[in-house]
């Protein structure tokens, strides 16, 4: 029985996937991708129509027939209108903001209504989750945020989610599945509580010599987004080399190295968790910091971009 059931489910899923087409960052709800069925209140409504019809027959009442057929006509058209509320809608996944593990990842999805009519009361949700409700005014767009719990660091993909609507009459539910190619970066959860940062331990102390002055040229590294334009090595760029950032010894003034190796007593995830805590604390304290992980190194620095770079390295650290 369950085998048959799962075979059917499998076939159903394959049929649906075929109808839905390949996933992508954006999608347009074409007719064949929209499914529609009567809702529970639609079934109640049809029961009401049957009762009215029986009454009309019993009393040979023409006006009751008229009303019965008017309501039947309205409910048939309600199907078309509910369908129309979804058909032709364009959806696009926008890059979500990274979160820490254990938080809720918010996937922004842009709903674009190219038509002259408003699309009201669209519900976007993951299966078995509460929905986000949005209206999309005519010829404009709205953003809806689908919330997903992100338990683990790394890339959190957006599962197949449902966009559905019962508007206007609530008699029918029209829905479609969205397989949007989007993922949210999840940083490791910072270890709770104040953890004293590493004090002069490890190779960070070896940089003491570079404390002399801000302007001491230290070397070049590849440009990374967020680096100050004043520090771009224009001269090397002019020579046709790639965009590089000049590094000065002063950048690491009072800086610390947050080092994987000095946490050998902890497990992988705990180390990442602690490093994450240190990164946040150092950033808060405006104290330059660098990150050393097996196989990669983020040179010391400060600022939101630097922090994100470090956190990203932690998030994507191979398990």
């Amino acid at each position: 029985m369950s085998v048959v059931g799962s075979v059917f489910r499998g076939l159903g899923k394959r049929w649906i996937d075929r109808r839905l087409g390949a996933p992508g960052r954006r999608t347009r709800l074409a007719y064949r991708r929209i499914f529609i069925l009567p809702s529970r209140s639609g079934l109640l409504f049809s029961a009401l129509l049957v009762v009215i019809w029986l009454g009309a027959v019993n009393y040979s009442n023409s006006m009751a027939f008229l009303l019965c057929f008017l309501l039947l006509g309205i409910s048939m058209l309600a199907m078309v209108h509910t369908f129309r509320n979804l058909a032709g809608l364009r959806l696009q996944a926008e890059p979500p903001r990274p979160v820490f593990a254990g938080e809720e990842a918010q996937f922004p999805i842009r709903l674009d209504n190219p038509d002259r009519r408003e699309r009201a009361a669209l519900a976007l949700r993951l299966p078995d989750q509460p929905a986000v409700l949005v209206d999309v005014p005519p010829g404009s767009d709205t953003r809806a945020h689908v919330t997903v719990h992100a338990p683990r660091r790394g890339w959190q993909p957006l599962d197949r989610c449902v966009i559905e609507t019962r508007f206007p009459t609530g008699l029918f539910t029209a829905w479609s599945w969205l397989r949007l190619e989007t993922r949210c970066l999840v940083y490791p959860a910072p270890e709770p509580g104040p953890i004293p940062p590493p004090q002069g331990t490890g190779p960070a102390s070896g940089d003491r010599t570079s404390r002399e002055g801000d302007d001491d040229f230290h070397g070049l590294r590849r440009y990374q987004p967020g680096d100050s334009l004043r520090q771009v090595a224009w001269r090397t760029l002019a020579r046709g080399q790639e965009l590089q950032t000049k590094q000065f010894a002063g950048n690491a003034r009072q800086g610390i190295w947050l080092d994987w190796d000095c946490l050998s007593e902890l497990g992988v995830e705990q180390r990442l968790s602690r490093l994450c805590r240190w990164v946040l604390d150092a950033e808060n304290a405006r104290r330059p910091y660098g990150l050393r992980l097996p196989g990669q190194r983020v040179a010391p620095g400060l600022g939101p971009d630097h922090r994100d770079r470090c956190l990203r390295a932690l998030a994507l650290f191979p398990a």
Binding site: N58, Y59, L70, L71, L77, V80, A121, G139
Partner: protein, 664 residues
């Protein structure tokens, strides 16, 4: 339970609109609801509204249950039953009122709106006139707008949101409604029988006649039936509409008597054919009325011993039939097997004074004809008065009427005249029905009202059969020629519409009646019978073919509507300058020169001029004006209008006159 969700369920103005719509739905019912129930509805609606707007508490489950039981007990006490039309409607209203106090979720609100739809239907059990049709559209519109509002899970704006959308939905649903109304197979009702109270409100002739019951019926303005004649209608004196024929007499009441299961009486046509159609209002009895004497009818009826037409089941819905009658006829010249004694029977010892009067006349009169004339003359000579308010007779009704009160309505004259004839040995019976009818000039048809109810006498004469004699005509000729309103004194208060004096209200009433007559004929009378007739005429007599056509038509209509609804209509840009430019580009695209995506207006115009030098002047002017308006920031409204107007009159041809397209 906290009041928070209650207040948030619906914005208070939507709640107000809901209460207002429900009030509109229940308002016509207030006429036949017990007053305490109307009061309950008002209180519950107010309570629920204040709960929504002021945060009042709603009653808890137990109080609600108690109120429900109390209300149900009240309905049973008032109506004596749960079921039936009046009690059922009362229960529905009670449920609606109490459901309002339980309206805590969207789902409850939807149920309230569904109850509202259902209450709209129940109103049609009381009245189905055109006013009701307008009311149907109005209430369904309001309820649908509310249904849309409630189902919108996001907050709507405005006082009556989605009114336009509901109106559009209804308009689109009308063609579907029409197709279903005409083609959806109709099953003859009733399915489970009708409770008695349905008949209570229906007026019509009864199966028996005592002095007083027709005059009671004549107080009513209600329409009995409407008639359309194929040619000229008969003169007033010939407008006798035959109904039940009464031959059994017990000294007080005239009844039909037991059917004698013989062949229907023979009728001989002598001339004066009349063809007409009757739309008969429901009267809850089996009688089918027709002009004296019907010889052909389009619906199945049986002709009883008294030559009255009867249907096998009671007329509970409006029906329409075609009849041919003859004005000159000879009815049952030979009584055959029928025993004439029943037509002579008067209870032994009744009406002593009348008996004495008749035996006096019998000794004077040469023959029966002379005696008939003598009796009719008696009505004219003695101070008899025709009145709608006859005094109540208690003792021997005929004697009392003939010798003391002398004031009576048609049943008094017909009843006592038949008794006199029987005492004189002339077979006599009473025929009830309607006499008269008024032509409505607006629709060119005749209205016969309950106030035209009448009773007359038929005498059987050897060789001539049954002949109509109307004693009322001898007392009050105006009754026959001009109708009830002119025949009885004004102090009797005859029903307004029975007075034939012209007035504005009367003209309006007649016009309204004409409208309703069309409505009745084409919409309300459309039942299983009429559907069958229509389908046969269309060649769809077979029900399978009918259902196929219904399905096809529904699909076609729905498909066409879906095409209209789903047609993609891109949002037009707000900016008129932009709109004009897009229009210009569309025009050019139509002649095979679409703008390329990478082309700005200037490049596009340059290319257009290169390819179509003949359009250079227009393209140059238009593109320059567009660029100026869009990018210089110094455009004037006049220039905007000029651009729009120029684009509007710019109609490029596919090829320049007298030259081949440069592309070929």
């Amino acid at each position: 339970m906290s009041t928070g969700p209650i207040r948030q369920l619906l914005p208070h103005r939507v709640l107000f609109a809901l209460m207002l719509s429900l009030a509109a739905v229940t308002l016509p019912h207030a006429l036949h609801l017990p007053p305490w129930l109307t009061a309950i509805l008002v209180v519950t609606a107010a309570w629920r509204y204040l709960a929504g707007s002021r945060g009042w508490r709603l009653p808890n489950r137990w109080l609600l249950l108690f109120l429900t039981l109390l209300g149900a007990a009240g309905v049973v006490l008032h109506h004596g039953t749960f079921i039936g039309r009046d009690a059922g409607v009362a229960m529905l209203c009670l449920m609606l009122g109490l459901k309002l106090l339980e309206m805590r979720t969207r789902r409850d609100t939807v149920v309230v709106i569904y109850l509202g739809y259902f209450l709209v239907v129940t109103q049609f059990l009381y009245s189905q006139n055109l006013l009701m049709a307008g009311w149907l559209l109005l209430t369904v519109w309001a309820l649908t707008a509310l249904l849309i509002t409630v189902n919108r899970s996001t907050t709507p704006t405005g006082w009556f949101p989605h009114a336009g959308q509901a109106a559009a939905l209804m308009t689109q649903a009308l063609p579907l409604m029409l197709v279903l109304f005409v083609l959806f197979p109709r099953i003859p009702g009733p399915l489970w029988g009708m409770p008695e109270d349905e008949a209570r409100g229906v007026t019509g002739l009864s199966d028996s006649m005592t002095m007083g019951n027709i005059s009671e019926l004549s107080q009513s303005d209600a329409v009995a039936f409407r008639v359309e004649f194929a040619s000229e209608p008969p003169p007033p004196a010939q407008r006798y509409w035959r109904g039940p024929v009464l031959r059994q007499y017990d000294g007080r009441t005239w009844r039909q008597g037991e059917p004698d299961h013989t062949a229907p009486p023979s009728a001989e046509r002598l001339g004066g054919d009349m063809d007409y159609s009757i739309t008969l209002e429901p009267h809850n009895r089996t009688w089918i009325f027709a002009l004296d004497l019907p010889v052909q009818i389009s619906i199945p009826v049986s002709v009883n011993t008294g030559y009255a037409l009867e249907r096998s089941n009671a007329v509970r819905e409006r029906i329409r039939y075609n009849v041919r009658s003859v004005l000159d006829y000879r009815l049952e010249p030979e009584l055959g097997d029928r025993d004439p004694a029943i037509y002579l029977q008067v209870p032994e010892g009744s009406h002593p004074r009348t008996r004495a009067l008749i035996s006096g006349w019998q000794s004077e009169a040469a023959d029966q004809d002379a005696l008939i004339t003598r009796a009719l003359a008696h009505f004219r000579e003695q101070p008899f008065e025709y009145t709608l308010r006859p005094p109540l007779l208690r003792g021997d009704t005929v004697d009392e009427f003939l010798f003391e009160s002398r004031r009576g309505f048609c049943e008094h004259f017909a009843g006592s005249f038949a008794v006199m004839m029987r005492l004189a040995g002339i077979p006599a019976r009473v025929v009830t029905g309607y006499q008269g009818g008024e032509i409505n000039p607006v629709g060119d048809y005749m209205i016969v009202r309950q106030s035209d109810a009448h009773a007359w006498v038929e005498l059987w004469r050897e060789g001539n059969g049954w002949q109509r004699v109307d004693p009322t005509a001898w007392v009050s000729p105006e009754r026959i020629d001009l109708g009830l309103g002119s025949a009885v004194p004004a102090r009797d208060n005859p029903p307004t519409l029975s007075r034939r004096t012209p007035s504005l209200s009367r003209t309006l009433a007649l016009q309204w009646d004409a409208l309703n007559a069309y409505w009745d004929r084409w919409v309300l009378a459309y039942g299983p019978g009429m559907q069958q007739q229509l389908m046969e005429r269309l060649g769809l007599g077979d029900w399978r073919r009918m259902i196929t056509v219904l399905a096809l038509l529904m699909l076609l209509t729905l498909g066409a509507l879906a095409l209209i609804i789903l047609r993609r209509r891109p949002q037009r840009p707000e900016d008129p300058v932009q709109r004009a430019w897009i229009r210009f580009c569309r025009r050019m695209a139509a002649i095979g020169l679409p703008r390329r995506p990478e082309e700005g207006p200037r490049d596009y115009a340059r290319r257009l001029i290169r390819e179509r030098p003949d359009l250079a002047a227009d393209v140059e002017a238009l593109s320059r004006l567009y660029l100026h308006l869009r990018y210089s920031g110094r455009g004037s409204p006049n220039q905007v209008r000029a651009l729009a107007a120029h684009v509007a009159r710019f109609r490029p041809g596919r090829k320049a006159a007298g030259q081949a397209s440069p592309e070929t």
